[in-house]
Amino acid sequence: MSAVLSGGFSAYLYRDLLLAYRCRSDLARPLIFFLVVSTLVPLGVAPEPARLAALAPGIIWIMALLASLLSIESLFSSDFQDGSLEQMLIAPNLLAMPILGKVTAHWLVIGLPLALISPLIGIMFSLPAVAMVPMVLSLALGTAVLSFIGAVGAALTLPLRKGGVLLALLVMPLYMPVLIFGSATIQSAVDGLAWSGSLAILGAFLAIAMALCPLAIAAALRLSS
């Protein structure tokens, strides 16, 4: 029984990680996007360190949010096109487990690298050193929530040909609480306040998303078949 329950999870996690490893250039795209768009901010606003540091918590989080959103669209689409999604749907496993595996893989491939690379942008934006650890932690937790919520949107828009902008419209309002608490974590650290509270709320969001989103994703995926 437990093999049936967890089998789907680890098998799909392994499969998606392997697929990501085989197309490493796809993997780098969101990271490069994150870096390039961050470069636009000093060019568009001002290069003064004080102003950039004031903007940094929000800007870094918005960039991470967009990078995650950009990559979530392809979460199910290639499986949908080559028919392996059909296999996943008719398999006797609990559908939530393979989905959990796929979303976890997405987070490991996109969200976690974004979190790890963020200190680089933090330095470029002259963010104080005390804010680096909270930034990495909040991005690591928050991008996992973003992956779950985004996957709901990706599953809903899967049968549509031009789902890209639509996906963004559906998912952005749902991302807002994560953005609020994510950037607040960094901001509190910059202001010298305790930041563990907002980080804990991000963790709570993740717990809710992890429990509920796979159900919604499963229901949405069944529509496409």
Partner: protein, 254 residues
């Protein structure tokens, strides 16, 4: 056997034809009550209620703003519940109600935001302020727009129904979270410099017309929902024999 009988009424309730015929006789009543309440509330509120001590006459837009905001929010839940009922019991009528509720809800949210902006100019000196309630309302508008856009993206009614019902349910879980987050965000960024005159502190002379307006808006909402749904029923069931008979009857009468 007993179970069977219970389900018959439930499914009859879900039949578009039954709904269409049943609501026919409700419409004039509902329309009359809504019109009386709205006219009474408006005249009372705009002409007879005393002006506010600090805001003068500009506060009177509250008689449109508050009822619209109330129903915009309540309408989201109605829409989501209708979607859930449709998903669980596979009732077509429920999906039609959901679609109508989405359209009306988006319009009401827009009205609430617009009247809020008009009210904000004389009161706060700006059309737009990033106040917690305004921001949540804006996000609610985005949620409604997402529902409408998702619906229109599907060419197949069946998938459009189910997809928007799922999105509605996801949104329902999120609406309280969004509200709380925005509230918290607002207190973090700007201490409460802006305060609306809240309902309980209102003078009874001002509050009574507001209550009438809220009731009137509820009736108007019900009327609009029924009318939208009836139009939707006719469009979807246009190939059904009873709709054809109805059309033939209308054309014969002309």
């Amino acid at each position: 056997m007993k179970l069977n009988r219970q389900w018959t009424w439930f499914h009859r309730l879900g039949s578009p034809r039954w709904f269409y015929q049943k609501t026919q006789c409700w419409l004039p009543w509902l329309g009359a009550i809504a019109a009386i309440l709205l006219v009474t509330g408006l005249v009372w509120g705009l002409a007879f209620a005393p002006p506010d001590a600090r805001q003068g006459n500009s506060f009177r837009i509250i008689y449109l703003h508050v009822p619209a905001s109330f129903l915009a929010l309540a309408g989201y839940y109605l829409m989501a519940i209708a979607g859930a009922v449709g998903l669980i019991w596979r009732i077509k009528l429920s999906f039609m109600l959901m679609k109508s509720a989405a359209t009306i809800g988006a319009a009401l949210t827009f009205i609430a935001l617009f009247t809020g902006a008009v009210w904000g100019k004389p009161t706060w000196g700006a059309y737009w302020v990033w106040d917690a309630r305004i921001t949540s309302m804006l996000i609610l508008l985005f949620l409604y727009l997402g529902m409408l856009v998702l619906r229109h993206a599907f060419t197949n009614h069946e998938s459009a129904n189910k997809a928007s019902a799922i999105l509605g349910l996801v949104g329902t879980v999120n609406v309280p979270i969004i509200y709380k987050s925005v509230d918290w965000w607002q207190t973090l960024h700007q201490p409460a410099t802006i305060k609306l005159t809240s309902a309980p502190s209102m003078h009874p002379d001002m509050f009574a017309p507001l209550l009438v307006m809220i009731l009137g808006f509820y009736c108007f909402y019900a009327l609009a929902l029924i009318l939208f749904t009836r139009a939707e029923i006719l469009e979807r069931e246009r190939r059904a024999s009873w709709v054809r008979e109805l059309v033939a009857e209308k054309q014969g009468g002309l």
